[in-house]
Symmetry: C2
Subunit: 348 residues, 2 copies
């Protein structure tokens, strides 16, 4: 098992003043220009020397990105937001909230999407660091973020949002998906359902597995068995979700209710339910546009994506302004919004 890396954070007072590039150069036994090259992501440094400089940076807690640097360079401050898919409407209010906070601080927001690919996440994050963003808000795709330790140590403030980082300590803002899914499933049970299907995202995604855990907990709380065929996890593309939803509605013991694990799954499941003509109850994780105008209106467990984004961005700017407090882990609650689909009784 690999250890979690704790990027060194040092206060100015501990060293009687922030460490300088000169300090780093002295400790690494290299010239000032070499340190500058490493810090600024320029070429012409051997991997060995680069590693030596990074170690000195980490040991001294040298921070590249103080606001003096930003002013010195005469550049607009900027923060990067890396998320899973810019086209997923869940991220729209999140990204807009991060942008608003950035603007209040006079900073530009630069976005990129990892498309749920850890290698691409890393590539994008490092590309943004090389392009000198002052801070990063990341919805992680991967589960190993040790690659970020040198950047954080070098002063790139980092906050994770929606999902926790792996093998690294960092500020993180999450939604309590476990409690939300448990409450939503319990709501269906309270309306008389016993055979409840769960249509979710890929199980390796933290948020997906947390929601599944919430579903199982609610069933266990009520003393109800879960038949494994009621659970379907995988990519959220319409073809898979369509086929799986039809499967759950068929057979000798069809489900009488569905819990859908995110907004992408829900919009497809809603289509299948409409086409089936069956009155199957539905509680959906994530609110979505026009949910209240469908027939029946869709009962959802709503996250607060704007609040997620705002909270993460505010944490980020506190870091950029020099807060040295211990890393924080904040969890936001969900809200059950009964609208009709989740209150349908079982139809056997």
């Amino acid at each position: 098992m690999t250890d979690t890396i704790r990027p060194t954070r040092t206060t100015a007072s501990r060293y009687g003043g922030r460490p300088t590039m000169k300090d780093v150069a002295a400790r690494a036994g290299v010239g000032l220009k070499t340190v500058s090259r490493v810090v600024n992501g320029e070429e012409g440094v051997s991997p060995d020397t680069g590693r030596r400089v990074q170690e000195a940076i980490t040991a001294l807690g040298f921070r590249r990105n103080d606001s003096a640097r930003v002013l010195r360079k005469g550049r607009t401050a900027s923060v990067g937001l890396v998320l899973e898919d810019l086209a997923d409407p869940f991220y729209a209010p999140l990204s807009r909230a991060v942008e608003e906070v950035a603007r209040l601080h006079g900073a530009l927001l630069i976005n990129g999407s990892s498309t749920e690919d850890p290698a691409r996440e890393q590539e994008l994050v490092l590309a943004l660091c090389a392009r000198r963003v002052d801070g990063l808000v990341i919805v992680p795709a991967g589960d190993d973020h040790r690659y970020l330790a040198p950047e954080i140590a070098a002063g790139v403030a980092t906050v994770f949002v929606d999902r926790a980082p792996g093998l690294i300590e960092s500020d993180v803002v999450l939604t309590d998906g476990f409690a939300g899914a448990r409450e939503g499933t319990a709501h269906l049970i309270a309306h008389g359902h016993r055979r409840i299907g769960f249509v979710g995202d890929q199980p390796h995604i933290q948020t997906a597995s947390e929601r599944l855990r919430g579903y199982r907990a609610a069933m266990a709380d009520a003393g109800l068995p879960v038949h494994e065929p009621w659970i379907t996890l995988g990519p959220t593309d319409p073809a898979r979700v369509t086929a799986e939803t039809w499967r759950l509605l068929a057979g000798p013991e069809p489900v009488t209710a569905l819990f859908t694990g995110n907004n992408r799954v829900t919009v497809t499941a809603v289509r299948v339910l409409a086409a089936s003509g069956r009155r199957v109850a539905l509680v959906a994780f994530d609110d979505f546009e026009l949910a209240d105008l469908l027939s029946p209106a869709v009962t959802v467990v709503a996250q607060a994506p704007a609040q997620l984004g705002r909270t993460a961005a505010e944490l980020l700017f506190r870091r950029l302004e020099g807060t040295e407090q211990a890393t924080q882990r904040l969890t936001l609650p969900t809200r059950l919004l009964p609208r009709g689909s989740g209150e349908l009784p079982p139809q056997d």
Copy 2:
């Protein structure tokens, strides 16, 4: 009236080889390091000298961003996409399409949103240029893009999409909003409507004014008068659109049909129509998620946002690969999708 700036494009053959930084330095009468500073957006160059170097760059057609440079620096190529609002679902498939094309070319996509503010657009575009993107796809907020001429001349490939640039020549990919709105309005007229309301975006936005022009043309084609109170233009926030839609439905001569000018307007107008209990016909510009599941399903004039993004990105990469053909202006057609709301007869 100001002239349109035509950034100099030069072919390698015209000079028997690409102009180099040395050529620029010689012409501007400055040192090589000064040219490098200007080209790389570094500090330490006086405005006067900067201007002199930019003039030499433009005159010689020096291009900073050949692929040799990208390889030399050992950096991943990247392109920037600047659009109006990342949170607007219209841009989701557009941005995803640009990203897919970028990935096929081994490049990263970096996004930013101008929030319909020309100053912010410029700030963001120049910030991306300073961070060395190789090319830009821009949905412009402003109508004066002369600020981009030095960047284009210095080799940053640029393609505008959805709206044309102002006072500069560049590749551009548009939707034929005039023809689309004319066809959608004619569809309502063909179903017997005479009093048709138009709920649109702010009139200074090109796409908004083109669609209004299409509405007027269809009414004129049919010999129908347009009463100016039937037209409402302005911000697309729900409060304004809600109030204006109610106004159109009230009074002694209420409209019997609505043409909505974009997806943001539509989702609000749909709520008002549902709340009113009236059978008012609706044709909406832009398709939107779940339009087909509403009751009645919403008839739309669909754009092809993914095709817009793909076409723009492909043009961009052709430029990055060195195409020197004249700038192109491509216009994509819309598609009328009758689903129910646009085929309701007038109810007087």
